[in-house]
């Protein structure tokens, strides 16, 4: 595949699409699909056939459009209109109105304005194709400049030049820790000529996070392209995508994408007629949160229990089957092609001094607009929650936002104006994390939330090291006592001591960060802990009073 051939495919696809007067896109990513988007797409296709408009209207299934709570979403690209909560019954009206020139809203459809902050305040790089292209057609991806970066990199750039470009872009790992991507790549590249691997970490285990799933479902080729560029840069021949078995649609789209790319010679042996070969395989995760940790993930790909091991040696030097291994997250790989295509300086101009580019967040919880958003680094939490998110529904008061999942923290109102970047979030006790962002209002008890995350870490602890295995259990027990209203101040003191201990002595990131939700809630919502301990009861009214607990025991 040469650049010219790529341009030819793109041109043919654009011409084919231009023939249609109207482009109707239906979101068929998991969010909308669970609201019945597939039936909506079928109803639209049927109506096109019935009204004999096959040559004028193109109906295509596309990826995530972001506003998941208003799904199923349908856009008419050519008219720049979006409809929300479309049903199979109301969908045909979209087609009929094209035919008659009538107002589709008269037929029971809901207009979804796109000139609102939810759409306008976003900046899309990773999600630029989401909601635009058909994820199951490589031609559509190529028509949107797909694989241009890969072919350019392997035919016109040296591996070192690619690494330099990624370094200069300032891209940092989007899995949460924020390690500079270019530095990681050069470590793997420096190990010399030998068998090497590239792994894409798509084991999105954080509850409340679905960014990676959306990228894989909506634009799988972007991830493959990023992986292939990485493989060329570091000198790897094989790649694995470790993806959750709970994401069947993402797996299906990935499988299709790999086959298509192989058929066009964009993956496989001697890509673009060069000596560079790269084969990609999928490995299914099996529901273990700890497998997001890189050494545990490697153990899992090797068919073992997913338990981490001490580092060093880091996977960059000794990873999968003891070979040098590059592990990056889905979103990190999704940023690579645009960086190579548009240049490092373009990317570095977005974001803050130390955190470049954009970040995708899954905005959910007690917020008006829930869904998937992509924003430039440095935007404030207030802007995300109150402008893009549209604030708290039902006239309730904002209490906290939880970022980073079970490894992150709860951020109170006083820090709403802090910018979203790796350093700022760490300074206030949370982490960037992979991108889950759960908003809570006054009805959530912060001790209960801390208990929820501790229960998660307790049952997800792999059991290898004692501080995590036993410590999370002990902390969970104390939190149970507090929420049941039977704890004493001494229990809270012990809880604080355990936080320090588990954080400092656990083997891997799971244990080291497990105390974060407790530490931040203790720091910012100490009053709520005190209220439970002094017998005042739960301020949010979610936890049981000692009397209720006793009553329940009697009933049993």
């Amino acid at each position: 595949m040469t650049i010219e051939e790529l341009h030819k495919i793109a041109l043919a696809e654009r011409d084919a699409q231009k023939k249609f007067q109207h482009h109707v896109c239906v979101c068929i990513a998991a969010g909308c699909l669970s609201s019945g988007a597939d039936l909506v797409r079928d109803a639209l296709k049927m109506e096109v056939v019935e009204s004999g408009m096959q040559n004028e209207v193109l109906v295509k299934g596309v990826g995530c459009m972001g506003l998941c709570s208003a799904g199923p979403l349908v856009t008419v690209e050519t008219e720049d209109r979006m409809f929300s909560s479309v049903t199979p019954e109301s969908a045909p009206e979209i087609i009929r109105s094209m035919d008659t020139g009538g107002d589709p809203l008269a037929g029971g459809l809901h207009h979804c304005p796109t000139n609102v902050p939810f759409f306008e305040r976003q900046k899309k790089i990773v999600l630029e194709n989401s909601g635009q292209i058909d994820p199951e057609r490589i031609e559509d991806y190529i028509a949107h400049d797909g694989y241009l970066a890969l072919v350019t990199a392997i035919t016109e750039m040296s591996p070192l030049e690619v690494i330099e470009q990624v370094k200069r872009s300032g891209l940092r790992g989007r899995g949460g820790a924020g390690y500079p991507t270019g530095l990681k790549w050069s470590t793997v590249a420096k190990t010399g000529e030998q068998e090497k691997y590239v792994i894409c970490n798509a084991d999105e285990g954080d509850p409340g996070a679905f960014m990676d799933r959306a990228v894989l479902e909506s634009d799988p080729h972007r991830v493959l392209e990023g992986m292939a560029i990485a493989a060329y840069a570091v000198g790897a021949q094989r790649g694995y995508i470790y993806v959750r078995a709970e994401y069947p649609l993402a797996v299906k789209h990935l499988k299709t994408a790999i086959k298509q790319a192989e058929r066009l010679g964009l993956l496989g042996n001697s890509i673009s007629g060069t000596r560079f070969s790269f084969h990609v395989d999928i490995r299914l995760g099996a529901g273990a949160f700890v497998c997001g940790e890189e050494t545990a993930l490697i153990a899992s790909i090797e068919g073992k229990r997913g338990t981490p091991r001490p580092r060093p040696p880091f996977p960059a030097e000794s990873g999968l089957w003891e070979c040098p291994t590059l592990i990056n997250n889905v979103e990190t790989f999704a940023n690579i092609a645009p960086i190579v295509r548009n240049g490092a300086e373009w990317f570095a101009a977005i974001g803050t001094e130390k955190s470049k580019g954009t970040k995708v967040f899954a905005l959910a919880g007690r917020v008006e607009n829930t869904g998937l958003i992509e924003v430039p680094m440095g935007i404030t939490l207030r802007e995300i929650i109150f402008r893009i998110g549209g604030g708290i529904p039902d006239g309730k008061q904002y209490k906290a936002v939880q970022t980073g999942g079970p490894s992150g923290g709860c951020i109170p109102a006083e820090h709403l104006d802090s910018p979203v970047d790796y350093e700022s979030l760490a300074r206030i006790g949370s982490i960037m994390g992979s991108g889950g962002m759960i908003v809570m209002d006054e009805t959530s008890c912060m001790v209960d939330v801390a208990k929820y995350f501790m229960e998660f870490c307790m049952s997800e602890s792999c059991g290898k090291c004692i501080p995590c295995r036993a410590g999370t259990q002990q902390m969970h027990g104390i939190l149970e006592k507090i929420t049941a209203g039977v704890a004493t101040p001494a229990d809270v003191a012990l809880l604080e001591e355990l936080c320090e201990l588990v954080r400092n002595t656990s083997l891997c990131g799971l244990g080291q960060s497990a105390p974060n939700p407790v530490v931040t809630t203790l720091k910012y919502f100490r009053k709520e802990y005190d209220a439970h301990v002094t017998g005042e009861g739960c301020p949010a009214g979610t936890c049981k009073t000692p009397e209720e607990v006793k009553g329940a025991e009697v009933n049993v």
Partner: protein, 175 residues
Amino acid sequence: MTNAPDKNDMQTFVGAPQLPSDDKRWKIVEATARRHGREPHALIETLHTVQECFGYLDENALRFVASVLRVPLSRVYGAATFYHFFTLKPNGRHTCVVCTGTACYIKGAPQLLKAIERRYAIKPGETTPDGELSVLTARCLGSCGLAPAAVLDSTVLGKLAPEDILARIQKGIHP
């Protein structure tokens, strides 16, 4: 699964262990193992195939996977119990998976589970004595926009109140 292996089967799989029965699904399992060269690293992939074919992993299956991949049974059992996705017991005719992700949790997932427990007397991971309904939990379905969400027999239900889920389960069991 108690039938003796068919002689023809044994001839087809020279060098491979006997299939536990002439159930065709074992051939699919064997094919997964073969695709990965019967290497030990195919363990999780092979267990996935077993669960996809049979719905759960019983002792028979674990022993077969151990022999086909030439790994100790203890390692197979270790992996099967380590990963939450694998289950060692069969589910009921209907399954209801309640999402307990963060967004669902703060929007009322515990109340959904409580309502199910009150009506059917089963806790997450349990099946009703008549084998009709199993209730399970998921760490996160990723349908956070629809919180609280549940999956009833592979249909995703969103924005559920306790009475909604009970009505849907009732309708699912007795259509």
